[in-house]
Every structure is written in structure tokens, then in C-alpha cells.
């Protein structure tokens, strides 16, 4: 058998070809995310704007009459926007204290054993499909809300009974769903607080609670802010969990009203809508997308500020 002669030069060409191809493939993979973001943005704008020209921006955004299938259709989504804003805001108000305090327990107080249990529970909570939250919302929260509704509006003649499918139910479901996000990110930022701060606070005679609430939490405030912003993002984009729980009719977001969110608005009518009606649904998608972009920008700003402070 002839012995293969290996030359330093001979191999170089094929080898560098392989190298080149490999690096080109990797670049392409990396660029996918840029292409995806650009095309998603593009499609959202292209599909969301026609309705604005047909119906008029103010007739969509600032009118609260939603009658897409009437003979004189009206496409005001003000109530829907307000529902999303108020719903998410309230969910944050409920979720943040619980989430942050749980994170405090995880990062500062709990023993390793307890910590492990809590962490596993939170991880699982994050993995539960949103439709399952929806199912439980309908069967656990809605009946409770209905009891409350019956109690409060016992003598009311004007109240439209919703069977418990109302804004409060949706807020509770949303608050639960954002907990894992809030807890995980807050915990990470608490862990990043240098131990020196705790030590010197304790050495000044502060109690553990004083140390946590006066030094550790303020030092982690950027992280907590990001947690809240991400929680807002998660809540405003949620659909399937609140689709049925919220009752899904377009109303002003009062606690016991059946309401429709931006997300649920799209899903509940996309199946049958056509023409301008369908286009307006895409406009709702665009509005949602703008909200998400704003949230992302705020987040980037917070993180950047955090970096600067860290230096």
C-alpha cells in the first residue's frame, strides 16, 4: 500500500474551505434573529396600517364603540386598550409584592433545603401551559367571583351578570402567571448584591429585616425594575389563560365587567373576521406590538443604567 504523503500546503485549501463554510453557516444562523425581528416588525406594520387609513386613527384608538359586524360597523378599541392597561397594571400591583417578598425569602432568609423546594415550585409554575391556567380560572376563580358578584349586586337592576367571568378573575390569573418571572429575576438581582453591604449593615447594628429592606432591596432596584417590566411584558401578551376567564365581551374595564383584552380581542374574532374587520384585528396586533416594543426599550434603558451605576 502506498503511503499517503501529507503536505502542509496540499491540505490547506480544502481545510480553509471547510473553515470558511462553517463560519458562513454560523453567521447565517446568527442573522436569523435579526431577520426575524425585522420581518415581524415589517409584517405587523404592513398588516396593521391599512385599517388605520380606512377607518381613521382616532376612530379606532379613541372610540369605545366596538360593533364590527353592524350595518354601520364601528371599530373603536379604546375599551380594549384600557382593559389591557388596567388589567396588567392591577396584576402587577398584586404580583409584585408577593413576587418580590418570595424572592427575598429565597435569596436572604430561607435555608438551603426550603430554598430548593420553593425554587422547584416556582420553576414548575413557570412551565404550566397557559390554557391550563385558563381551565383552572374558569372552574375555580370564576365561581368564586360569581358568588361575590351575587353578593354585591344583589339589588342592582342595571348590572349585567357575568357568571364571574370578569376583569377581577382575569387580573388574578395574570398576577399568578407573572409570579415566576418576577421571582426569578428579582432573586437573581438580590443574589448579585455584594455581601459586603449586608455585612456592613449588620455590623452597624441593623437587624436582618432592616438590612434587607434598607440596603439590599435598594441596591437591587434596577434588577427589580427589570423584573417588573418583564412581568408587564408577560402579562400584556397573555391570551389563552384569560380568553374565557375574562368573559370576552367588549366593555369598560370595571372590576365586575366582562372584558376583552388586546390579545383576546385578536384571538376571539380572527377565526371568522373578514375585510376591514380582519384588518382592524391586525391593527390591534400592531398596538400590542408597539406596547411590547416600548417595554423592551424601557428594559434596555434600565439595564444600561444599571451597567453605568455598576462601574
Amino acid at each position: 500500500m502506498e503511503k499517503e504523503v501529507i503536505s502542509i500546503i496540499a491540505n490547506r485549501k480544502t481545510k480553509s474551505m471547510v473553515e470558511k463554510v462553517a463560519s458562513i453557516i454560523f453567521v447565517c444562523c446568527a442573522i436569523v434573529s435579526i431577520v426575524a425581528v425585522i420581518s415581524i416588525t415589517g409584517y405587523m406594520i404592513i398588516s396593521g396600517t391599512p385599517a388605520i387609513f380606512e377607518v381613521g386613527l382616532s376612530d379606532i384608538l379613541f372610540s369605545n364603540v366596538w360593533a364590527p359586524t353592524a350595518s354601520h360597523p364601528q371599530f373603536g378599541i379604546l375599551n380594549i386598550i384600557l382593559t389591557s392597561i388596567i388589567g396588567v397594571f392591577m396584576a402587577i400591583c398584586i404580583g409584585v409584592p408577593i413576587g418580590v417578598l418570595t424572592a427575598v425569602n429565597l435569596a436572604e432568609i430561607a435555608s438551603p433545603k426550603v430554598k430548593k423546594i420553593i425554587k422547584s415550585a416556582i420553576e414548575l409554575l413557570a412551565g404550566i401551559p397557559s390554557v391550563v391556567y385558563g381551565l383552572l380560572g374558569i372552574l375555580i376563580i370564576n365561581p368564586l367571583m360569581y358568588q361575590l358578584e351575587l353578593l354585591i349586586f344583589k339589588d342592582s337592576t342595571t348590572h349585567q351578570f357575568t357568571g364571574g367571568s370578569n376583569l377581577i378573575s382575569a387580573i388574578i390569573v395574570l398576577a399568578i402567571m407573572i409570579l415566576p418571572t418576577l421571582i426569578n429575576i428579582t432573586e437573581t438581582s438580590l443574589n448579585a448584591v455584594p455581601d459586603d453591604y449586608r455585612k456592613s449593615s449588620l455590623a452597624l447594628g441593623a437587624s436582618q429585616m432592616q438590612t434587607i429592606f434598607r440596603v439590599v432591596l435598594p441596591a437591587a432596584k434596577n434588577g427589580i425594575m427589570s423584573a417588573i417590566v418583564l412581568g408587564v411584558g408577560r402579562a400584556i401578551g397573555e391570551v389563552m389563560a384569560i380568553l374565557l376567564v375574562a368573559g370576552n365581551s367588549v366593555n369598560f374595564p370595571l372590576p365586575f365587567n366582562s372584558v376583552r383584552f388586546l390579545t383576546t380581542g385578536i384571538v376571539s374574532e380572527m377565526g371568522y373576521a373578514s375585510g376591514t374587520h380582519r384588518e382592524v384585528l391586525f391593527t390591534i396586533g400592531l398596538v400590542l406590538f408597539v406596547f411590547i416594543l416600548v417595554i423592551n426599550l424601557v428594559l434596555t434603558y434600565i439595564l444600561k443604567k444599571g451597567d453605568e451605576n455598576g462601574k
Binding site: C29, S33, M44, T102, N105, V131, V132, I183, I292
Partner: protein
């Protein structure tokens, strides 16, 4: 002595705060217990093995979720086949090749944005882009392509973290004995980064299993058994979550709880596997 160390002050505010903290934790943890407990209590009595091997048919008078299980598996595999290489490749580029800081920043930013886009937006985009433009209409492929973009950040971020954890000395050692870059990545980097990559893949699986909003208008909601293994990807197919939603909307709670039970078991299993991998292959573990 007035100023004695023994005059223990009991701070009421400390006690209240501690109670609040413990109470919050209790809420967070008990939520999970309630959710899983409730699903088990309602789901297990309804559960019959028939459900898993039957299709729902009015003619034969059977109820079953086999098609949905198959569709879910299809979507998981297809999505991972598409997103896996892209996500891992992108991460390799960012960590090993990219020299331009600006590009790295832009890619990291877009990845961040992708991670923050809600699934309903992916659903709309997938419907318009893959469904209408590529004319794939409602099909498992449309769904998988849509979800691929959605899980891309999960896979690429976990891969990146895993690559970062590989000591620099490994790279230098490999390059130092004359390995080319790609060879070094293939033989040294990726093998030591595998646990991290796998964790990312499993997290992505969890996300896919749980997804519904992005699939409703892309993969559709048909529950039919595949006629042909390959052509099935071009037909509409509803996953377990979609079926759960449909049953729930029709108030068929019995089937809904069976599906919920199956979903929870899958989620638990994936969670367990991810934990097992990260513990088993912990690179930083000494000894």
C-alpha cells in the same frame, strides 16, 4: 443596667415584615400545589387509557386525544430540527467567531426582543408569513416554523451560557496543537457544552408543549390521525393545548382535565429531565 446588651428590643416591624415574607412565599408555593392537586383530583378519576389510543369520532362514538398527542410530537420534533441547529449555530457565532462588537450587540438585542414578543404576535406573523406568503396555510409545518422563531432565544441563550462556561484553556490547548477553529469547536467546545445545550433544548420543548396562542392560527386545530408520515406535516393539526382549549370552550371539562393531566405530566417530566442533566453534567462541580 440601662444600656445592657440584654435589653432585647423586639422590633414589631421586623416581625411583621417576616410574616409578610413567609406569607408571600406560602402563596407562591401553594399556588402550585393547588394547581397540580386540582388537576389530579379532577383528572385522574376521568382518566382512562382509551383516551390515549383513540381519536374523537362521532361515528364510532369514541373520545380520544391520540391525534393531538401525535401532532404535539410532530411539532416538537419539527421545531427542534429547525430551531436547534440555527440556535446553536448562532450562539457559536456570537461566542467564537464574532469580532465586531456592534454586530454582537445587535444580535443580542434582537434575540432579547424575540424573547419578549408574546406568542399571539408570533401567531399572527406565522399566519401571514408562513401560512399566506409561503402558502403553507394551516399546517403543522407552519406551526413548527413559527415556534422555531419563538424558541430560538431559549436555545441560543442556553448554548451561549454553556459555551462561556468552557474554560479558555481548552480552546488554547486545541488551537495550540494545530486544530482549526471549526475542528476545535466540533471536538472540544461542543462536547463540553452539551449539557447546557441539552438543557436549552428541553426548556424549548417545555415551551412548545405549553404553547397554544401561536399555534391556533398556524398549525390549526384539526384532530386527525396522520395518513402519511411525511405529508402529515402539511396538514392542519391541533396540539394537546389547542384541543384543551377547544374542549374547554365547549365545556367538555372531563376531556379537558384528562388533557391537562397529560400536559402536567409532560411538563413535570421535562422539568425533571432538565434538572437531572444539569446536576449530572455540572461542569463546575468539583470531583
Amino acid at each position: 443596667m440601662e444600656n445592657s446588651l440584654f435589653n432585647k428590643k423586639s422590633r414589631i416591624s421586623d416581625k411583621i415584615l417576616n410574616i409578610l415574607i413567609q406569607f408571600s412565599t406560602l402563596i407562591s408555593v401553594s399556588l402550585l400545589v393547588v394547581i397540580i392537586g386540582y388537576i389530579c383530583i379532577r383528572g385522574i378519576p376521568c382518566f382512562r387509557f382509551d383516551y390515549l389510543i383513540n381519536t374523537t369520532s362521532i361515528l364510532k362514538n369514541t373520545v380520544g386525544i391520540l391525534p393531538n398527542i401525535i401532532n404535539t410530537i410532530y411539532i416538537i420534533l419539527l421545531t427542534l430540527i429547525i430551531a436547534g441547529p440555527i440556535g446553536i449555530g448562532g450562539a457559536i457565532y456570537l461566542n467564537e467567531y464574532a469580532t465586531n462588537k456592534k454586530i454582537v450587540e445587535i444580535i443580542s438585542f434582537t434575540t432579547e426582543v424575540l424573547a419578549g414578543i408574546p406568542s399571539i404576535i408570533y401567531g399572527l406573523f406565522g399566519m401571514l408569513f408562513f401560512g399566506n406568503l409561503f402558502n403553507l396555510s394551516y399546517s403543522i409545518l407552519t406551526g413548527a416554523l413559527t415556534l422555531s422563531i419563538m424558541v430560538l432565544p431559549i436555545i441560543s441563550r442556553n448554548t451561549q451560557v454553556a459555551l462561556e462556561a468552557v474554560p479558555k484553556s481548552y480552546r488554547e490547548a486545541a488551537l495550540g496543537i494545530g486544530a482549526t477553529k471549526w475542528y476545535m469547536i466540533r471536538t472540544v467546545l461542543l462536547p463540553s457544552a452539551i449539557p447546557g445545550v441539552l438543557t436549552g433544548v428541553i426548556l424549548a420543548m417545555g415551551r412548545i408543549v405549553a404553547e397554544s396562542a401561536a399555534l391556533l392560527f398556524t398549525a390549526g386545530s384539526v384532530s386527525a390521525l396522520p395518513i402519511n408520515i411525511f405529508s402529515h406535516i402539511f396538514s392542519s393539526g391541533g396540539t394537546l393545548t389547542i384541543q384543551l382549549y377547544l374542549e374547554m370552550a365547549k365545556a367538555h371539562y372531563e376531556v379537558a382535565f384528562v388533557i391537562a393531566l397529560v400536559l402536567i405530566i409532560i411538563v413535570l417530566a421535562l422539568n425533571f429531565i432538565a434538572k437531572w442533566i444539569s446536576q449530572k453534567f455540572d461542569v463546575n462541580k468539583v470531583g
